[in-house]
């Protein structure tokens, strides 16, 4: 039988298996190969909170979705064209995510009566007609892996190489070579030759299996994308945050301090920074979230570029200390990789529900700057910008990332040397003019007088300060004035940040206004609608407090504004209260990214019904 090759402009592939099956690795290696091949990619790791949930159950399924395309894409895809499922539970979990006629590769070895029952199938899905609309390919992945690895490893260990077999097979189907993965295996297992050899054998066996059997009726070809020339790296949002922070500290020629307590899904930032001490990065794994925040305040007081990272529950614990940073006006960055809440919520799932907490979740009037990256590759720039702003205004800046951005990865064009705006740190040094709470007339920043500077000995703290001298003050008029100064310092930053840009017409019937990790889904929806001739514009906020100064004007030029969010309408309510502008909402809080189709449908509904604002 001749195997045909189907040309596609984009494909979405999902790898799924038990949480110990190595599906995250399979997915990320496949992503790398595709990125190196030249495709644009977007990935979505989706794994359970339990490290090893009961094997064979739907609760324990770990998935990794990737979309690859020959053009710019912004999402990991709504539904999958291809599924690689290592057991019945993975199949069960992913069935609703499949396109009709999807290619489904199943590990036949795992379809035992016990596993089928554990997955919750009433009968064997392989012969009860359930899979009729899909192209099913059965491969004895486990046993083929074991025979490929031969006597290199004991059987139990050999079985663990089955993800590499699946990877090899998938690489063949999509016409990728195994070169970069072979290199990766050799360096990853450089200290254990047997494991390296076994993994290489499994990878090659999977690839050859595709080549030598009548495995599938078709292979896919997705041509390289035309992208802006440059040097690219695959980067997750959490890596991007870490790299952007170091870049900022390097530009400022200051040490970087990162104090953090392990919390999903933010911990990878700590891991990444811990490996970058060569660039004057000090990481501190604190005893709790509060100590992480407080050590960051201490490092900022002492003159470092100081940063902490956390997720929602950690932000709650840090809030009292964040207020100390607001009151003492010290520069620092607080990264919140949002996850499902409230409480422990959905630790490994994405959500955008900490916006109001970031804005208002502290006692007293507590204004601070909030930024939000819109994609994994935007994290570098946002982290850099957060440091730049914190130093400019002497105050804390919250970065609202989310689990989808943090764990998701995409190609990132490495900025040219010196292409980022330089960051200049000015410590106060002159004892004759020094006043701890004197303000820069333009930015309202107070001076950064770090311990060790002769003649500038002074005291700061959480008690209200006298304007100028910084002495403790209970004076009623002074307290009111200081409240207004702290608010104005944040407000007037809108003259410094770039104006909001709009994709599509600058006025019209419908503006879709988003922020954070929904960028990809909204932009894809807007492109799709515009391709159909429907006039829809998209503005995506990266500066959430203060808003860009032209946002009011933008909003006034559209008949309808739709705010899609992975919460119950937090940004929508801020927009309403700030601009007295009625907005439409689209809210889905399921722990997963919004689907393009949902946004398109809601946009059409608004335009068709002519909902009045």
């Amino acid at each position: 039988m001749t195997i045909s090759t189907i040309e596609k402009d984009a494909v979405t592939i999902r790898f799924a298996g038990d949480s110990g099956d190595g599906m995250q690795l399979t997915g990320s290696r496949f992503s790398s190969s595709s990125a190196i091949f030249g495709n644009d990619i977007a990935t979505f790791p989706d794994y359970p909170a339990e490290i090893r949930a009961p094997s064979g159950t739907v609760a324990g399924v770990s998935g990794f979705q990737i979309q690859l395309a020959d053009h710019d894409i912004y999402t990991p895809g709504d539904h999958a064209d291809c599924l690689v499922a290592m057991n019945p539970a993975a199949l069960k979990k992913c069935l609703p995510e499949l396109l009709p006629n999807a290619l489904v590769i199943l590990n036949e070895d795992a379809f035992t009566p016990g596993n089928i029952e554990k997955a919750g199938f009433a009968s064997n899905p392989l012969d009860d007609g359930l899979l009729g609309e899909y192209r099913i390919v059965l491969v004895k992945i486990t046993s083929l892996t074991c025979s490929a690895t031969g006597s290199l490893l004991p059987r139990k260990q050999a079985e663990r190489c089955k993800n590499l077999f699946a990877l090899g097979l998938t690489l063949w189907i999509f016409g990728r070579d195994t070169g970069s993965t072979r290199e990766w295996i050799r360096s990853k297992f450089s200290k254990n030759a047997a494991v390296a050899e076994a993994n290489l054998a499994a990878l090659e066996a999977g690839y050859s299996y595709g080549e030598t059997t009548d495995l599938a009726d078709a292979r896919y070809r997705v041509a390289p994308a035309t992208v802006r020339p440059g040097t690219y790296a695959q980067v997750s949002g959490n890596e991007g945050i870490a790299l952007g922070l170091v870049a900022a500290a390097q530009s400022a020629r200051c040490p970087l301090f990162y104090g953090s307590y392990p919390i999903t899904p933010a911990t990878d930032i700590l891991h990444e920074l811990a490996s970058l001490s060569a660039f004057d990065v000090t990481t501190f794994q604190a005893e709790d979230e509060i100590a992480a925040m407080c050590s960051t305040i201490g490092a900022a007081f002492a003159g470092s570029i100081a940063v902490t990272g956390t997720s929602g529950p950690g932000l709650c614990l840090k809030s009292e200390a964040i207020n100390l940073a607001v009151m003492t006006e010290l520069p620092m960055v607080i990264v919140n990789v949002q996850r499902g809440g409230p409480s422990t919520g959905l630790p490994t799932k994405t959500e955008q529900s900490d916006l109001l907490q970031a804005l208002y979740g502290r006692n007293g009037e507590s204004p601070l700057v909030i930024l939000a990256p819109q994609s994994p590759s935007d994290c570098y720039a946002i982290a850099y910008e957060a440091v730049r702003i914190a130093l400019r205004i002497m105050g804390p800046v919250i970065v609202l990332s989310d689990g989808y951005i943090g764990n998701g990865a995409e190609p990132w064009r490495i900025p040219e040397p010196d292409s980022m705006p330089p960051i200049v740190v000015r410590y106060a040094t002159d004892p004759d003019t020094f006043q701890p709470y004197a303000r820069d007339p333009e930015t309202y920043a107070r001076p950064w007088a770090i311990p060790g500077t002769p003649g500038l000995e002074h005291r700061i703290g959480g008690l209200e300060k006298q304007d100028g001298s910084g002495h403790v003050s209970y004076d009623p008029a002074n307290h009111h004035r200081m409240m207004e100064l702290r608010a104005e310092k944040v407000r007037r930053l809108d003259a410094f940040i770039p104006p909001q840009d709009v994709y599509g017409e600058k006025e019209g019937r419908l503006l879709i206004l988003g922020w954070g990790g929904t960028f990809g889904a909204i932009r894809t929806a807007a492109e799709r609608l515009r391709a159909e001739g429907i006039s829809v514009s998209h503005a995506h906020l990266r500066y959430l407090n203060p808003f860009p100064s032209n946002l009011r004007r933008i909003l006034s030029r559209f008949e309808h504004v739709l705010v899609p969010e992975i919460n119950l309408g937090q940004m929508a309510s801020v927009i309403r209260s700030t601009y007295l502008k009625e907005v439409q909402q689209l809210n889905q809080v399921r722990g997963v990214p919004l689907k393009v189709a949902e946004i398109c449908a809601r946009a059409r509904q608004i335009l068709n019904q002519g909902v009045r604002s």
Partner: protein
């Protein structure tokens, strides 16, 4: 963009002030001290102000960090860099300061509620890490600033506004707790004995690592007389056990008595008994210091002095040397590094 091996500006731009001779007066800030008249805090402030000029450390290198409570107003009265932080968190903030800057000399000022109740977690973790700072705990066994509630060190039965029938909780013993976290320097002194206080502070100031000092003090307003048995000079000979390194554990007035062993437990013996223990603050085994920390009033005299003073790796020094090594070995600029992270060219 710049190389990763450039000296950070805080090292480059800050110079030490001239090696002028400092006096106590140099450490007095212009702020009016607002503790209650007769509070033990005054004596501690005076002794720390006396201690600092003897250390040969420029004033601008000294940082005093406090939490919340009566004692925590302390930084405002010191003409050094100061940080009056939030309740319980002084040690965590001080850890950040120390990790960022090896050239600074940090004092943490805290109280029994601040350090042991709301800040209990930071207390144990700072000490177990052995961060280079002086941890001075003012213990008056009461919450003063909130107007008199029992604290974690209040004895059982303490009657306060929140415990009108007397506290039913077992109190914490700060010295035992500090030893339990493997503290490298542990001492106890008395605000009412300025001379002893000065000696202990001198030793604490020179320790490398966390120097934990419990200062027992009276609260005239809300817990008056809590340490009368020690503060009253006429009783002190019988109630205090002044511990000096290498000297026998002796106390008592005309009739000298000593501390000996009854199995694993302490017992009071005659001063000339051959079983009187000899104080050894450098004992590597924390068991001895722990044993000493269990001597409680009224059954035993209360030990004052240095319980333990040993040398262990200092947390922030290790962190910094790790970073320094990585920086020294690094040959790449940041831009070069970015291009080596699994990149491809288009």
């Amino acid at each position: 963009m710049t190389s990763g091996t450039l000296a950070p500006p805080c090292e480059a731009r800050i110079m030490d002030s001239s090696a002028e001779t400092l006096t106590r007066q140099d450490f007095v800030s212009g702020q009016t001290v607002r503790w209650c008249p007769g509070c033990g805090d005054y004596a501690i402030l005076a002794q720390i102000q006396n201690t600092l000029p003897t250390l040969g450390i420029p004033r601008e290198k000294i940082v005093v960090i406090s939490g919340i409570g009566c004692s925590s107003r302390f930084p405002y009265y010191m003409n050094t860099y100061g940080f009056h932080t939030i309740h319980g968190r002084a040690a965590a903030i001080a850890t950040g300061v120390q990790l960022a800057r090896e050239d600074l000399h940090v004092w943490v000022i805290t109280g029994d509620g601040d350090a042991l109740s709301i800040g209990g977690n930071h207390f144990i973790h700072t000490i177990r890490r052995n961060v280079n700072l002086r941890f001075i705990l003012f213990n008056n066994a009461i919450y003063g600033l909130t107007k008199g509630q029992y604290s974690p060190t209040s004895p059982k039965g303490t009657k306060t506004k929140s415990t009108p029938r007397g506290s039913i909780e077992n109190p914490l013993h700060p010295i035992s707790l500090a030893l339990g976290t493997e503290a490298t320097f542990v001492a106890r002194t008395l605000a009412a004995d300025p001379k002893h206080l000065a000696t202990v502070l001198q030793k604490a100031a020179r320790h490398k690592g966390t120097a934990f000092v419990e200062v027992l003090q009276n609260c005239l307003i809300f817990n008056d007389g809590c340490f009368d048995f020690l503060e009253d000079k006429t009783r002190r000979a019988e109630t205090a056990l002044y511990c000096e390194d290498g000297k026998p554990l002796l106390f008592g007035g005309t009739e000298r008595k000593g501390i000996g062993l009854n199995g694993f437990s302490p017992k009071v013996v005659a001063g000339n008994d051959p079983g009187v223990l000899v104080h050894d603050e450098t004992n590597e085994d924390p068991g001895y210091a722990w044993f000493l920390s269990r001597l409680r009033h009224p059954e035993f005299p209360v030990p004052l002095g240095v319980f333990r003073s040993i040398s262990r790796p200092v947390f922030d020094e290790q962190v910094r040397s790790d970073v320094a090594r990585a920086r020294a070995e690094n040959k790449l600029t940041w831009d070069e590094y970015l291009l080596r992270r699994g990149t491809w060219k288009v």
